[in-house]
Symmetry: C2
Subunit: 341 residues, 2 copies
């Protein structure tokens, strides 16, 4: 077995507010001899996602906090470069949750082989064909119970989840789909590429005022990735019986002081609204259903996507921070070069 060095990004300390480089450490680890059942994988893409910010805190949540001094866990896709296991021979493409490193060596059971298909870039398994797409699908179907003709509003619509939500909503029969994003370029992309009927730039002025102009007939489904002013604006315009799928609240992820919630929650009562917070863990049983539909949509050329690529494991923290500040369009990914083998 060839020796190899793994470059890993560890959590050095818990961030206070916005993370900085000092909160992370880049560590080189010599990978040792294989334990029985282990494989070694050279990553090709590593994912940086908003939810990771929450795991950097020492707070009760649906997953345990990241431990100090350990690699930041998360989605990644790579190729087996050494193996002790027949089921995962060298060359197999695998998805895993070992996170921010260029090379990872671990028990074969922690990797899942995925088929390589012509015309399907591997990176897509980390977003539109993977958890990101599933998040959009689950939020619209099981959580928000989307109905044909519904008007749908999506906050953070130019992000990885948001670009998927708009398209899937349309494919599921939504009427108007409206999105918010943080630049004129992103707003244009939403309407020109992602099937949004209208979009607003939340940096142009109060979302509350801008949104109301775009949805004269109100909103039936709100898919929230942002929280804060977006949630408040949506509550203003929800139709009776409307449903809110609360997926993310990136507006508050890096604040040190707790921000107050919307001033119009009473609309929940008078309009009979249902708001459901969700994370994928409770909905993984919908993965096969999603896989079937998304595979078909993708094959028919009905799914667009964008990736914002940062090269090199050593730039992972920059990718993560950029994503938190909205530097990405579509999915933010770290591409790993010719890694150790």
């Amino acid at each position: 077995m060839t020796a190899a060095t793994s470059t890993q990004i560890h959590l050095a300390r818990r961030p206070d507010g916005w993370p900085t480089h000092d909160d992370f450490a880049t560590v080189s680890v010599e990978l040792g001899d294989f334990a029985p059942g282990e494989v070694r994988v050279a990553n090709e893409f590593v994912s940086v996602d908003p939810y990771m910010r929450g795991r950097m805190n020492d707070a009760r949540s649906y997953v345990a906090p990241y431990a100090i001094g350990e690699t930041i866990a998360g989605g990644a896709i790579g190729r087996v470069v050494a193996s002790t296991v027949d089921a995962l021979p060298v060359g197999t493409v695998v998805l895993h949750q070992h996170g921010w490193s260029d090379v990872v060596q671990a028990d074969a059971a922690t990797f899942r082989a995925v088929p390589e298909a012509p015309g399907v870039p591997l990176s897509l398994r980390l977003h539109i064909l993977g958890m990101t797409g599933l998040t959009a699908y689950v939020g619209l179907t099981a959580v928000a119970r989307i109905q044909p003709g519904d008007t749908v509003f999506v906050s953070g619509a130019a992000g990885a989840v948001g670009t998927a939500v708009g398209q899937i909503a349309k494919l599921l029969g939504a009427g108007r789909v409206i999105g918010s994003a943080g630049s004129a370029e992103k707003v244009a992309l939403l309407t020109e590429k992602y099937g949004y009927d209208a979009a607003l730039n939340y940096k142009d002025g109060p979302v509350r005022e801008h949104l109301a102009e775009l949805v004269p007939d109100g909103v039936d489904v709100f898919f929230d990735n942002v929280g804060g002013d977006h949630l408040e604006a949506a509550l203003d315009v929800m139709n009776d019986g409307g449903r809110l799928a609360l997926c993310g609240a990136i507006a508050g992820y890096n604040t040190t002081e707790k921000a107050p919630g919307p001033d119009n929650l009473a609309n929940m009562i008078t309009r009979g609204l249902t708001a459901t917070g969700f994370t994928l863990s409770a909905y993984l049983h919908l993965s096969p259903e999603f896989g079937e539909k998304m595979t078909a949509w993708f094959a028919e050329g009905r799914i667009a996507y964008d990736e914002t690529i940062v090269d090199g494991i050593e730039n992972t923290v920059d990718a993560f921070l950029g994503m938190m500040r909205g530097a990405n369009t579509g999915k933010m990914l770290v591409r790993i070069g010719a890694a150790g083998s």
Copy 2:
């Protein structure tokens, strides 16, 4: 047909913040000749309810605002004193929504005959055996999907709805039931009479701190009549997959400035919570189911209740204002004396 005078409470102008007597007018109206199909009813009890405050505003809501210069509509129960309709002969007890007056004359179709039963005071049709009880039942079942063993927290637990919620929750198999109320006497009543396992006095200190001490194992169902600090406190302690039935938000009904919402809405996402606002209009189909169960429970002596009675139609505004400030235990009602006939 005997002539009669109806004393009615009209909305004189829309209240700004806390209502005052100047927002209402007491008006004497001579009831004229009968139109075909009309009956005249002498009310015995008139209801004052929190939701009425919302209808005094000129705001979009699930029911139209009260019109200036018209009688405040709402639940009442009385007896037919003159009739042109065979189906509603003199002496029939009827429920109706004509609201704040001592005598009302209107089309027979706007009244619903209710049976008189020994041991069932008429006033109960305006609360525990009526809309109030149905509100509690619907909120726990259809809205919050209560499960046996659930820990339930009820805000404003000593009010008309709250006293019903605690008992119905227990009858439906809840585990611990915890309530909040605004005085030591009410807190004692909750645990001694209404089956609450524990209760807190929200005037003793921050609900947030007090509640957490009472629910070491968290809360599965929150039935909210108050909003504000109670909603925030509940969000702190909700268990994963918890459900919030948002029934009322009396904390904010008389504020002129919009109050910010809870600072911990992110818990909705990380804990997979569902919050559903509701008003009865969407759940009236459950009325027969509720009627059957509640009639049986009541006959078995398993339902306690309190009434806070104010005498005289001319004191209706005082009753309403008192109820808004928590002067009531259980249901606040106006009892009408020997009315015109």
